[in-house]
């Protein structure tokens, strides 16, 4: 029986044009909305599968503004049984609307994990996304593992738990520079998940109804200590389009000939 905690983040959508707030300290998500990081969708699915396979339970946690309840509900709708919401004040320099830096987030999660452990409800496995789609810090999971003195592997393509009690191990498959790498971690452990092999399920209607009633523990997030150290966000300079139109499908032959001329000029076609 493995109790799994999956940590997620509410991030601005990336399907439209990125705009900054007036003070250049955050991303203005008014027009693009908010979503989950893709890696975390896979982490949620892994948590639900492991909890199901082992007869354990999956809990979802986020540190974020009140609106992040929406992302917790998404996880609850696909089989996570309870949620913890570390609520932050809106406004600040983080992109999810707060001023917590990666060390602060790790410390806040560690507090929850320790408190649960003291109550006899510890987490055997803590899953996170490999990196948040917005701030891309690549470090919350590793910092959390050190705070809890647990082994950690990042960038997992799949995670499975075998055995129970002190013999329980997590088998992690990831991509290394020379091929597919396998790790086996004694539990409790921390693993960060990457999009790829795990396919997130879609919420069912009963799942959505259940999510509305699922318990959400709401806690005020501890104040940031390290913060983000952000000075400002800047948008890379927009270069005016210099595209040269080589043709259209009204004269496909001429367009194709122009493309091949370019390939010759670049040198990728030599003969």
């Amino acid at each position: 029986m493995a109790n799994v905690l999956v940590c997620i983040k509410r991030v601005p959508g990336s399907s439209g044009q990125v705009l900054l707030t007036g003070d250049s300290m955050s991303i203005d998500a008014r027009h693009v909305g908010h979503t989950l990081s893709p890696h975390e969708e896979c982490a949620i699915e892994a948590a639900v599968q492991i909890a199901g396979d082992t007869g354990g339970a999956a809990t979802v946690l986020t540190l974020g503004p009140e609106g992040a309840l929406e992302q917790l509900r998404e996880a609850l709708a696909v089989g996570v049984s309870s949620a913890v919401h570390l609520v932050t004040a809106d406004g600040g320099s983080g992109d999810s609307g707060d001023a917590h830096g990666p060390a602060d987030v790790a410390a806040a999660i560690a507090d929850v994990a320790r408190r649960r452990e003291a109550a006899g409800e510890g987490f055997d496995l803590i899953l996170l996304g490999n990196d948040a789609a917005d701030t891309g810090d690549f470090q919350v999971g590793v910092r959390l593992a050190y705070l809890l003195a647990r082994p950690v592997v990042t960038g997992a393509r799949t995670v499975a738990v075998d055995g129970s009690g002190p013999a329980a191990v997590a088998t992690v498959i990831g991509d290394g520079p020379a091929g597919t790498e396998e790790f086996q971690l004694p539990l409790p452990a921390v693993v960060t998940v990457k999009e790829g092999e795990i396919t997130p399920r879609y919420p069912s209607i009963p799942g959505r109804l259940k999510a509305k009633k699922a318990p959400v523990e709401v806690i005020e997030a501890p104040a940031p200590v390290q913060g983000t150290a952000r000075r400002a966000l800047v948008l890379p300079p927009e270069h005016p389009s210099t595209v040269q139109i080589l043709g259209t499908d009204k004269d496909t032959g001429a367009a194709a000939a122009a493309v091949v001329d370019v390939l010759h000029t670049i040198g990728v076609v030599t003969r």
């Binding site: 990336s14 399907s15 990125v18 900054l20 893709p38 992109d95 990666p102 060390a103 789609a133 701030t135 891309g136 810090d137 690549f138 470090q139 999971g141 590793v142 910092r143 050190y146 705070l147 950690v152 592997v153 990042t154 290394g176 520079p177 020379a178 091929g179 597919t180 790498e181 396998e182 790790f183 971690l185 999009e195 790829g196 390290q226 983000t228 150290a229 952000r230 000075r231 400002a232 966000l233 800047v234 948008l235 890379p236 389009s241 595209v243 139109i245 043709g247 259209t248 499908d249 032959g253 194709a256 122009a258 493309v259 091949v260 370019v262 390939l263 670049i266 990728v268 076609v269 003969r271």
Partner: protein, 339 residues
């Protein structure tokens, strides 16, 4: 970084035949950072160097190479590598420690940051100011610029603490060699603080990936397909063209999400970052997520029915039209010229 004793330490990664490209970029960047301050560039490698590894490191600016060897380091473990970096920090007191923003680089530097309770900045593209004082503590800080939102936005932040720890975004600089480099001093060392706990999360086994053609991240030509391809059974023309050009097929996230093609072919923020000489992007609108993975292509040719698609407006060249007409025509044209 004001005294000549200051060092910049670069964690580099060795591949079987050569040093990784991102490592050479990180060295190039470190050199530019060190030179004005009169600092020395040190490279740290865990495990074996390829045959000409020391030569490559020297020619890219490493003055000293620390090579850490131990049988316990045979299988990769991020914690073990981090213990080696922490050893080197203790011995050299570098002002700056950086690594390529590869999966290994980001992972190891995160471990180092956690061990030393230091800040870490991932995917740095630029050091804006080499030395400032943190207003509240008086501590030294580097002001860096780094990629967030998959590179669609840059964040400027104060990297307070010593050493300054960061990873270098891929292809933020082109790697260049030093004119008449002196051979680096190679110092073979043994790990000092490596413990059994550092080996718990070590790789147990590695299964080489069966190569199904040209490696996407190294391909000189990538032919890309997006939603506009239309279906899982509609990729033959793109695959044929990629093969004809000795290149690889790359796809957008929507293509893998729909299950049309496997994830390992994905180009983008959550897939591969490609650096080909030419990227032929077919039926791809060019969303931020995708652009994050393809913007380092030297030349982009877009094929799209929508002349206003970001992929078209950001491309160097474009054909406005249906890829299912244009792509076979390009293959035919190549055949006609080269048979």
């Amino acid at each position: 970084m004001s005294t000549s004793a200051t060092t910049v330490l670069v964690l580099v990664e060795a591949e079987p035949e050569e040093m990784s490209t991102l490592s050479l970029e990180a060295l190039t960047f470190a050199r530019a950072l060190a030179e004005p301050a009169g600092a020395t560039v040190h490279a740290l490698v865990v495990g074996d160097l390829p045959a000409n590894g020391a030569g490559e490191l020297s020619s890219h600016g490493a003055q000293v190479v620390h090579q850490v060897s131990d049988p316990r380091l045979a299988a990769y473990s991020a914690a073990a590598w981090a213990s080696c970096v922490v050893d080197a920090i203790g011995a050299q007191s570098p002002a700056v420690v950086l690594a390529p923003a590869s999966p290994r680089g980001n992972e190891v530097i995160a471990h180092v940051a956690a061990r030393l309770d230091l800040r870490m900045a991932a995917n740095v593209t630029e050091v804006i100011s080499a030395q400032v004082q943190d207003a509240s503590t008086g501590d030294a800080a580097l002001v860096v610029r780094r990629q967030v939102m998959g590179g669609a936005v840059l964040e400027e932040l104060d990297l307070v603490g010593s050493p300054a720890l960061f990873t270098m975004a891929g292809h933020a600089v082109e790697h260049t060699t030093v004119e008449s480099p002196a051979p680096a001093q190679v110092i073979a060392t043994a790990p000092i603080s490596l413990s059994a706990a550092d080996l718990v999360a070590a790789v147990r086994r590695t299964v080489p990936v069966a190569s199904s053609g040209t490696d996407l991240t190294r391909a000189r030509v990538v032919v890309g397909g997006g939603r506009g391809v239309g279906g899982a059974d509609q990729f033959d023309e793109l695959i044929a063209l990629a093969g004809r050009l000795g290149g690889a097929l790359g796809v957008s996230r929507v293509v893998t999400s729909l299950g049309w093609r496997p994830h390992h072919e994905q180009v983008g923020q959550t897939g591969s970052r490609i650096t080909p000489d030419v990227y032929l992007a077919c039926g791809i609108s060019g969303a931020i997520q995708h652009w994050a993975g393809c913007s380092s292509a030297k030349t982009i040719i877009a094929v799209n029915t929508d002349p206003e698609a970001p992929m078209v407006t950001k491309a160097n060249y474009a054909v406005v039209g249906d890829l299912h007409q244009v792509v076979p025509a390009i293959s035919s044209e190549l055949d006609a010229r080269h048979h």
